[in-house]
């Protein structure tokens, strides 16, 4: 991303708790398809590479943002970018004015006393170097990053822009959780703005100095309360002039330094330099000052601005596009490289069984001593004697016949039904093993039994978990409920489902 506005917009749209309408799958999917195709990838291939390919993530995120921007013009990114750019130009303008003013002030000359070069050197050389070093230290120590931009923006917005400003503050709060990811970007953005200001300051100072030198006659001196001898001042000046030592006219000689020492008391050059000589020496001094302004002011600021710009772009490029917000976005933009597709639930599911009327009472009529016929379904048929004993023991019924049904031989079912018809069975128990399902076969048999014995005869269905030694384990109520639900479809008011366990 070389575009701060885009990054701001993306973070704004992907912030925690944001309205996810823009994620709308179809639109996002269309963008994902287009970006994948533009890179010669299928959507699945793009999705498979997404974790490892930062450039692809960036392209997808920006593609999606472009699509969102078509529909929305209320995103804050461009405002933030424009605001920062505007702030940068305002700062540069202020820097320019301040530079012009400072140079004019330090070179102010009314002919009564020559211009003292020492304050000029201290301010334009020394102070600038110190400020630049401070700024570099501030940026390179990598602390205090997030909030560098947030704070001034929020401060200005919160105080001076009323409700709209408060919305900005709220937005900054909302993106706070992730701002640490962009600490470098904030630092270098601030650094670049500061260097632009510094560059403008130095350009202003240089322009003002050159115009003053060109359009007025200046006489320079050096003057200090400190006990500095000309040799030491010359040594310092020569050291400062090392970068442009190849330009002798801009390096003050020892003679020039000696000749330009000024004493305000009695108000003349210490060495008794004449006015003509002082004017001649001025050429050496202005060359020195202008060169110093360029080398210690303008050049470092231009270099710092260039570095700051590069580092800012690098910080922009370092955005990983990989936090949870982006993951959720890519999930919607690209189908998974592999995955399942299936029918909708409504296409495979059948109607739930009708509740039916259910039995006439909560329990069948008392069984003790009543003649009872028993149908034993499926695998329980092998243990029908044990089943009979259990029923007799638990219900006190008088067993008249036990018939295995649901076996391998279909004819066995028919024989049992006919036997019940012949006996005019008055009361029946149907027993199946726990786990047996009320299939169409089972329901069909029960229907046939009802037809055989006639309406009104109680039929009690039981599920039995019979273990070794005729031990009975409880059967889950949900299993009985499943049977009740299925048998309800028979609409038989004399058909019950009961527990078959010890004590029941």
């Amino acid at each position: 991303v070389s575009d701060l506005a885009a990054l701001v917009d993306l973070e704004w749209l992907l912030r925690d708790g944001a309205d996810s309408a823009e994620f709308e799958a179809e639109r996002a999917r269309a963008v994902g398809r287009r970006i994948s195709a533009s890179r010669g990838l299928t959507e699945a291939a793009a999705r498979a590479r997404i974790d490892a390919d930062r450039d692809l993530r960036e392209a997808l995120a920006l593609g999606w943002l472009d699509a969102v921007r078509i529909r929305r013009d209320d995103l804050p990114g461009r405002k933030v970018a424009r605001g920062l750019s505007g702030a940068g130009w305002v700062c540069a303008g202020l820097g320019l004015l301040f530079g012009v003013g400072s140079a004019k002030a330090f070179l102010a000359y009314d002919g009564s006393a020559p211009v003292n070069v020492l304050p000029f050197v201290a301010f334009f050389f020394g102070l600038q170097i110190a400020l630049l070093a401070l700024m570099l230290w501030f940026v390179l120590r990598r602390t205090g990053g997030p909030g560098l931009l947030h704070q001034p923006i929020a401060w200005i917005a919160g105080r001076w822009f009323g409700e709209r400003g408060q919305a900005v503050v709220d937005g900054l709060r909302a993106t706070r959780a992730r701002r640490g990811l962009y600490a470098g970007l904030e630092r270098w953005t601030l650094f670049a703005i500061a260097q632009r200001t510094g560059l403008a300051f130095n350009l202003g100072a240089l322009g003002a100095a050159l115009s003053t030198i060109a359009f007025s006659d200046l006489v320079f001196c050096w003057s200090t309360t400190l006990e500095l001898d000309p040799a030491r001042v010359h040594a310092v000046a020569r050291a400062l002039a090392l970068p442009w030592s190849w330009l002798p006219s801009a390096v003050p000689s020892l003679e020039a330094v000696e000749a330009s020492q000024w004493a305000r008391m009695p108000g003349g050059f210490v060495g008794g330099t004449s006015a003509e000589d002082a004017l001649r020496l001025a050429a050496r001094w202005w060359g020195f000052l202008v060169a110093g302004l360029g080398v210690y002011g303008l050049l470092p600021r231009a270099l710092a601005l260039w570095i700051g710009g590069r580092m800012r772009r690098r910080a922009l490029r370092a955005a990983g596009f990989d936090h949870a917000g982006y993951q959720a976005l890519f999930e919607r933009m690209l189908p998974r490289p592999s995955g399942w597709q299936g029918p909708a639930a409504a296409d495979v599911v059948g109607p739930a069984p009708a509740a039916g009327r259910g039995p006439v009472g909560p329990r069948p009529p008392e069984a003790a001593g009543a003649p009872t016929w028993v149908l034993v379904w499926g695998s329980l048929g092998r243990a029908r004697e044990a089943v009979g004993r259990l029923i007799a023991r638990h219900s006190g019924a008088e067993l008249r016949g036990i018939f295995p049904v649901g076996g391998a031989d279909l004819a066995g079912d028919a024989r049992a039904v006919e036997a019940l018809r012949a006996a005019a069975a008055s009361r029946l128990r149907f027993v199946a093993a726990a786990g047996q399902q009320p299939t169409a076969e089972v329901l069909g048999l029960l229907r046939a039994v009802r037809d055989a014995v006639g309406p009104g005869r109680p039929i009690v269905v039981g599920l039995l978990d019979l273990r070794a030694g005729d031990r009975i384990e409880p059967v889950g109520e949900d299993e009985r409920a499943t049977w009740r639900r299925a048998l309800g479809a028979l609409e038989d008011p004399h058909l019950w489902v009961e527990a078959m366990e010890e004590g029941a």
Binding site: G147, Q327, A328, S338, V348, V349, G350, G435, T439
Partner: protein, 469 residues
């Protein structure tokens, strides 16, 4: 007949066929109910890599009248060679009628060349109707595998196995409700044995699934890292209008801070569930409780986060490291006093340091102003989190939830239960050390308002390692 491998899942009603398909296809929307015949029409579930279909699984209605069907077939097949043709004749004759609708529906894909997955419920007894089903499937002449599923606690698997082996040359057990990714992949690999010519497609599908699974793990680790950064960096603010009671605002502030932590945890959970394909999961566990009442209760120490001993150990280690820097700075003149004092202070911090979740700041404090840029007027603020212990508790809950979601079968329809016993205390030391270092980086960053990309990456990498299982 398509070249795409096709498997059809058949069995008696309510044996868990749809559960098996739901688990394999990670489809939580497949209707699963206790009433027999929930599935009335076959549903085809396609596994694709890109645009290519690698294989299909068909979920079918269960057998409802297998004994009657077998009797019909036996009456019409004079020899073994006639059996597949007779099955086809059965389907042709009964298609569109209401006599055997379920059987027609389930036999049709088999006759189209599908491999058979015959599902039985080991909590039911082997019934004659089941034997009829197996016989019918044998008559189709298609390759088949038997799957022993278990819907309930009863176990009759021993009764089933000898019979199943008579009808199927591959018999496997598969717990549809408890199957994790490894078991699902193992079962899919087993599909190769049904028809060896389909092995290449199955292998490719398994590779794709494993790749997708690794991607999910990476994304989940990122979500957890984002949760930790957001929660530990969180600063809650309460305005103090003129005349407002500051004490009351402070009390409300703490509750709001806890609510914010819960919200963050909830959002991360939603995201994890979405990553693992459980977007509409119900959760039974309570919201994040920040141990307000009983921060140092022994039960709490045991349940979540690190043990007391581990916290003390880490505190001592980090303190010693800081002290050692002082020793180095003075060229060893301190005779390791810095290391010793640092270890002591660190241990004490580890023991007592978790007591305060986060600092409360008045609006006049510089930190509050810095943490809440642009705030005007009076307010009280709380955060960021300073308690290393809390960070471990929060992470532990997140990991427990993530593991529960990751390992949850899509066949389950109950609420997610994550339990209350943590995992971090039992992690291998190397993994725990990596997380501790990353968490300290986050806490340190949160305190100075900068949790950068490097800290996030370190935490995500450490968590990805933990989620590996």
């Amino acid at each position: 007949l398509s070249d795409t491998p096709l498997f059809v899942v058949v069995g008696n009603v309510n044996q868990g066929k749809s559960s098996v398909v739901a688990a394999l296809s990670e489809n939580g929307a497949i209707p699963i109910d206790s009433y027999p015949g929930t599935t009335r029409r076959s549903g085809t579930y396609v596994f694709r890599v890109g645009e290519r279909e690698l294989f299909r699984i068909v979920d079918t209605p269960g057998f409802q009248r297998p004994r009657q069907l077998l009797a019909w077939l036996r009456e019409r097949a004079p020899s073994a060679a006639d059996r597949p043709r007779t099955v086809r004749a059965f389907v042709d004759e009964h298609a569109g009628t209401d006599r055997f609708p379920d059987e027609v529906e389930l036999l049709r894909p088999i006759l189209d060349g599908a491999g058979i997955l015959y599902v039985v419920d080991a909590s039911s007894r082997l019934e004659p109707s089941n034997e009829a089903e197996m016989e019918i499937l044998r008559w189709t002449g298609q390759p088949a595998m038997a799957l022993i599923n278990k819907v309930r606690d009863r176990d009759h698997a021993e009764e089933w196995r000898p019979t199943l082996r008579q009808f199927f040359h591959i018999v496997r057990e598969f717990d549809a409700h408890g199957a994790r990714f490894a078991e699902r992949v193992a079962l899919l690999r087993g599909f190769r044995e049904i028809r060896p010519e389909w092995a290449a497609a199955i292998d490719e599908a398994v590779r794709a699934m494993e790749g997708e699974w690794a991607g999910r793990k990476r994304r989940a680790a990122g979500v957890l890292a984002d949760l930790m950064i957001a929660a530990l960096s969180h600063v809650e603010r309460r305005p103090l209008p003129d005349g407002a009671d500051e004490a009351a605002a402070r009390a409300g502030l703490e509750e709001a801070f806890r609510d914010a932590q819960r919200r963050l945890e909830g959002r991360a959970r939603d995201e994890i569930e979405r990553i693992y394909g459980h977007p509409d999961l119900r959760r039974d566990d309570p919201a994040l409780e920040l141990l307000r009442e009983d921060l140092f209760a022994e039960t709490t120490w045991r349940a979540l986060g690190l043990t007391r001993g581990q916290l003390l150990g880490y505190g001592a280690a980090w303190g010693a490291a800081a002290g050692a820097l002082i020793d180095l700075a003075v060229g060893g003149l301190s005779i390791f006093a810095g290391t010793a004092i640092g270890a002591g202070l660190g241990a004490a911090a580890g023991w007592f340091g978790g007591q305060t979740l986060a600092q409360v700041w008045p609006s006049s404090s510089r930190l509050a102003r810095a943490l809440l840029p642009g705030e005007t007027g009076r307010f009280v603020a709380m955060g960021p989190v300073t308690s290393a212990r809390f960070s471990w508790v929060l992470l532990d809950r997140a990991l427990v939830h993530c593991a529960a979601v990751r390992d949850r079968s899509h066949a389950r329809r109950d609420a997610l239960q994550t339990g209350t016993v943590g995992v971090v205390a039992g992690l291998p030391k190397a993994q725990r050390d990596a997380i501790d270092a990353a968490l300290r980086g986050v806490l340190k960053g949160a305190a100075r308002r900068e949790v950068g990309a490097a800290e996030r990456a370190a935490l995500a990498a450490a968590l990805e390692e933990v989620l590996g299982g």
